[in-house]
Symmetry: C2
Subunit: 230 residues, 2 copies
Amino acid sequence: MAAPEGMFVLEGRPTAQLIADQLRELIVQGAFSPGQQVNESALASQLSTSRGPLREALQRLCQEGILVSKRNRGVFVLELSADDVKEIYAVREAVELAAATTLLDSDAEEVADTCRELKGIIRSMAKQVAASDWQAIARLDMQFHTSFVSGTGNTRLIRIYETLAAESRMCILSLEVAYPRIDALVQEHQMILDLLETRDRMGLQGAIKRHMQKAVEDLTSKPEVTGISV
Amino acid sequence: MAAPEGMFVLEGRPTAQLIADQLRELIVQGAFSPGQQVNESALASQLSTSRGPLREALQRLCQEGILVSKRNRGVFVLELSADDVKEIYAVREAVELAAATTLLDSDAEEVADTCRELKGIIRSMAKQVAASDWQAIARLDMQFHTSFVSGTGNTRLIRIYETLAAESRMCILSLEVAYPRIDALVQEHQMILDLLETRDRMGLQGAIKRHMQKAVEDLTSKPEVTGISV
DNA sequence: GAACTGTAGATTGTCAACAATACGCGATCA
DNA sequence: TGATCGCGTATTGTTGACAATCTACAGTTC
């Protein structure tokens, strides 16, 4: 029997992963300060679960890198240094360049699907820029790039990028309202989209490299990269 | 007080990670068949630990991708398809290309350190080829590439690559004694080393791409990619 | 004989109590 | 006055037991 429309297995994924997703969203939104300790018992109560599942979720986020664990001490929210920012964006560049290559080697219609998605995200982004909703802008920024990588269909590449996206949002969080050159942001993404549509391989690669390089400059120019300043 | 030489914090890393490392080594060595279910209680007893830490270790390996978890069913050893092989090597290519770029942009002495390390690995590899120890060859093969990426010093890139290395060893495992063109293997690694030493950027990139492409061909040419045939 | 239903077994998911460890504060001693 | 030692507290690490869920097999009905 085929699964009826609108009906799907309830919570097919492991519980720990659900908790982890929830926590990740909280962290990248800045609900915890960098370096802050995450108390197991307290969080378990708040999320109305037990320490077991929560521990597994925390450990998951440790592996992703947005939490760090110290034995017999507990887990702490990652503090980002300038070196971390450079690392993250270096890996992002590698992944996106690979994604670009894969995309341009694939069928035109698949690329078209991705472009359609990206176009919608840019539209939303422009809207949020007008509203100056920085939290939303950061989310859409990463959503753009995640969709770009998702276009490859390479599940491993996508999974890697999701982690990078979370870390990037933590980076951007430290910039806060000081998202520099806000109009350039939409413009740069639009350019990447255009180059993808016109299948300009060299141009696309160059645009991605520049996009990453500028991001690192913006993020590391600030004296304190790691503080939250809500 | 500075830590005395030769003395370091005992088991500074979380227990689950130690168990995970142990299990990963067992899996990539083929101690479990692909698709086989991993029983929590049984394994916990064997490793003389409790189910709690073991669960965390299993979950860790799930996140890495060499185990897959089905809710209320348990965890199973990953079964590799031809598509998986393509994915893995596509990501490896992306990571190694990025590593090559970073390495060639860095100081000459750092590159020299890496080259020294790689040279030693190739020497060991040649020795094991003579002895036809396939398990050791596979380990050295991945050790070579892992060292290559480690040369960049990018901890995130390194962590990503360690996962890929584990998956690659699982791929190679299915090839078993049929490591094709065994002399070419040493030769190809030697060439990568030479191109790194002479800082031939284009040549190195090309060599890496060819190396990966050939590996995929070797691995997918076999009718059954997923079976173990000890 | 085929399909469905109910039960049995096994395995995972969750929980709460216990043990071990590290940090912070106060007392002690040089 | 300064450093060191010891204790108390808080937090994590671990364990075993209990509950929930799924698969497989047997029994029943059409």
